[in-house]
């Protein structure tokens, strides 16, 4: 999915100079170590905040690799590729209350992860934004953990509203909550992330058809368009063909994000998506990412979809992801 620029804060800041950020006006500085508890989406972001998010992304990548390494199982590839998305969403876009998580999420923005196998990035971001103690990342995939291999409500982990893992189900659930919001005249948004390989599941197209017909226009579905799945690239396994044409033919308002590993671009796009809501169509963001982004030997290949690094590989990866002020779990 396009040549991947080398990852690093330096790179992002260089891009920052070129692309104008929407209103870099001065607003109160948020320390990310304090839990985010208000609506970022109504405000713009300043340089200091942005650099905090950049740092968070770096830390999340460290978390992902360590979590998977620790238990020698889990899915680093998609997790690394979606790091900017999760950091942007939880760090800037969502209106949410990490410290007082409620299942119903009235007057909050909700998020659903349909491609549940990329739980590591979600768990890390949930912890880093205050949903549960960062130390709990240590329990990932271990017996009795709340951090199950695939996300679940069964063990009561704050931040999760439905189990996923068996692919293809998340969009339907997201639609249901979006309908509930409409019934309750709650004008907040419902977000959902789905894999691209996942779109081979028929249920996804049932959901697309429904959302268009019923004008579910408080719903923003992002596709992790990394071009990869377990057995190879999408094109090798079962081509998605002209993906934007498919979504458009199914009646969605389709946005294409070419730089899904550029934090600024992701924030800008998700805000744009929110502005497109309420106009009678569900919104799709087809987000090009690099699987394994940030760890050179994991990057751009399906081979690290669901494989854990050995000790040597772990050290190599960590060397590419320097420590941050947030500290490891």
């Amino acid at each position: 999915m396009g040549a991947a620029p080398k990852f690093g804060a330096a790179f992002l800041f260089k891009r920052l100079e070129i692309l104008p950020l929407p209103q870099l006006a001065s607003i109160p500085i948020i320390t990310l170590s304090t839990p985010i508890n208000f609506d970022f989406s109504t405000i713009s972001i300043n340089m200091a905040d942005f650099s905090k998010l950049t740092e968070m992304a770096q830390q999340v990548r460290r978390d992902i690799v360590r979590m998977v390494y620790n238990v020698q199982s889990g899915h680093p590839g998609g997790s690394l590729g979606c790091t900017e998305f999760f950091v942007a969403l939880y760090g800037n876009v969502l209106k949410h209350s990490p410290k007082s998580f409620k299942m119903e999420g009235k007057n909050q923005d909700l998020f659903f992860l349909s491609n549940g196998h990329i739980s590591p990035v979600w768990y890390s971001v949930l912890a880093r934004t205050g949903y549960f103690p960062v130390a709990e990342l240590n329990t990932f995939r271990k017996l009795n953990t709340r951090l199950q291999g695939h996300p679940t409500t069964h063990e009561g982990l704050p931040g999760i509203r439905v189990a996923s893992g068996s692919l293809g189900q998340g969009m339907s659930v997201a639609i249901g909550t979006a309908l509930a919001k409409k019934l309750d005249h709650d004008d907040r948004f419902v977000f959902c992330l789905t894999g691209d390989g996942e779109l081979q599941e028929g249920q996804c197209w049932e959901a697309l058809m429904f959302a268009a017909h019923h004008k579910v226009d408080n719903l923003i579905v992002t596709v992790d368009w990394n071009g990869q799945q377990i057995d190879g690239s999408n094109d090798q396994v079962l081509s998605l063909g002209n993906l934007p044409a498919k979504w458009k033919a199914f009646g969605w308002d389709v946005l294409i994000l070419e730089q899904g590993n550029n934090l600024e671009a992701v924030i800008t796009m998700l805000r744009k998506a929110k502005r497109r809501c309420g106009k009678g169509k569900p919104i799709a963001v087809l987000m090009k990412t690099d699987m394994g982004y940030g760890v050179d030997f994991m990057q751009g290949t399906h081979k690290w979809h669901g494989k854990a690094p050995n000790q040597e590989q772990f050290e190599l990866a960590m060397a590419q992801l320097p420590k941050t002020s947030l500290g490891d779990f």
Binding site: M103, E104, G105, K106, L110, T152, T153, H154, R161, V162, A163, S164, G165, S166, G168, Q169, G170, M171, S172, V173, A174, I175, G176, T177, A178, L179, A180, K181, L183, D184, G202, Q203, E206, A207, M209, F210, H213, H214
Partner: protein
């Protein structure tokens, strides 16, 4: 109650009871919402839809999506009732129910009509005989199969007051109504219909009436049957069953379902762990159904009154 006092003055489809109950619920509880997958009137959901159009969702022929949407509505605090044929309510969407509803413990009511052979002429592709078996294997799922229209209405209303996933199974044909219209429905509480001493007949759904008829005939022959309506297959009323069996020491289980995996196996499971006694099943013997009239089919596939008579005699003989 005495057997001869159990009489039926009218016939009505159990799905009619569902439609009525759902409408009533709509009035009582604004959280109740309903969904169908292009089978509005078959499920008698048009009453609800007409009264509460904004709380009704037509999903089209997309059952998997319907289950997911229902789970989402439940997250948003609604009490969704999904409605389609029993086949498309279970086997078509098992994995969706498993993950998004059962494992996620969502307050979704999966309402399934046209279960079993009595669906009739549409034939085997539609006649699901494995749905009870599938649903009872799911941890946390409540499985209910009421016996007549009145009880179906009562069950429909009762499950809205219970928080958690429920599978409610009912049928297509007009069927004798014999339970009191005002009888409260208690989830998980078996109903003693007639006490007896020679054999316990545990029946569910349409076959409860058949069991009553059989028991009346057997009474005339001097055989005393205890007839118990197991409207809730899960959680099973273990106490009621064990109490009855410790007295009678012989069991017949009657259900419109495969003999594999259904109420028969649920009761056998309980008894082999606690009180192993002879059991006879009245159910479909590991075969698909076919097109035909409901009663014709029940007879051809061994679910008629005479099949219960024989089963009772066999069970008693094996004591």
């Amino acid at each position: 109650m005495k057997l001869e006092d159990i009489v039926s003055s009218a016939t009505r489809a159990t799905r009619d009871g569902f439609g009525e109950g759902l409408l009533e619920l709509g009035k009582q509880n604004p959280k109740v919402v309903a969904l169908t997958a292009d089978l509005l009137e078959s499920l008698q959901m048009h009453h609800f839809k007409n009264a509460f159009p904004e709380r009704f969702f037509q999903v089209g022929i997309a059952e998997a999506n319907m289950i997911g949407i229902a789970a989402g509505l439940a997250i948003g605090g609604k009490i969704p009732f999904t409605g389609t044929f029993a086949n498309f309510s279970t086997g078509r969407v098992y994995d969706q129910i498993r993950q998004s509803v059962a494992y996620s413990h969502k307050n979704v009511k999966i309402c399934a009509s046209h279960a079993g052979l009595t669906l009739g002429e549409d034939g085997a592709t539609h006649q699901i005989l494995e749905d009870i078996g599938m649903m009872r294997m799911l941890p946390g799922m409540v499985v209910i199969n009421p016996c007549d229209a009145n009880q179906t209405k009562a069950a429909t209303m009762a499950i809205a007051d219970y928080y958690g996933p429920v599978y409610l199974r009912f049928g297509r044909p007009a069927w004798p109504v014999f339970t009191p219209a005002d009888q409260k429905f208690e989830i998980g509480k078996a109903l003693m219909l007639a006490e007896g001493s020679d054999v316990s007949i545990f029946a569910t759904g349409h076959l409860v009436w058949t069991a009553i008829e059989a028991a009346k005939e057997l009474a005339a022959e001097g055989i005393s049957c205890e007839v118990i309506n197991i409207h809730t297959i899960k959680p099973l009323d273990e106490t009621a069953i064990l109490d009855s069996v410790s007295k009678t020491k012989a069991v017949v289980v009657a259900e419109e379902h495969q003999r594999n995996g259904g109420l028969g196996d649920a009761i056998a499971n309980l008894l082999v762990h606690n009180l192993p006694v002879p059991i006879e099943y009245v159910g479909v013997k590991d075969s698909f159904g076919e097109s035909g009239k409901p009663v014709e089919l029940l007879e051809k596939y061994g679910l008629g009154k005479k099949d219960i008579l024989w089963a009772v005699k066999d069970a008693i003989e094996r004591k």
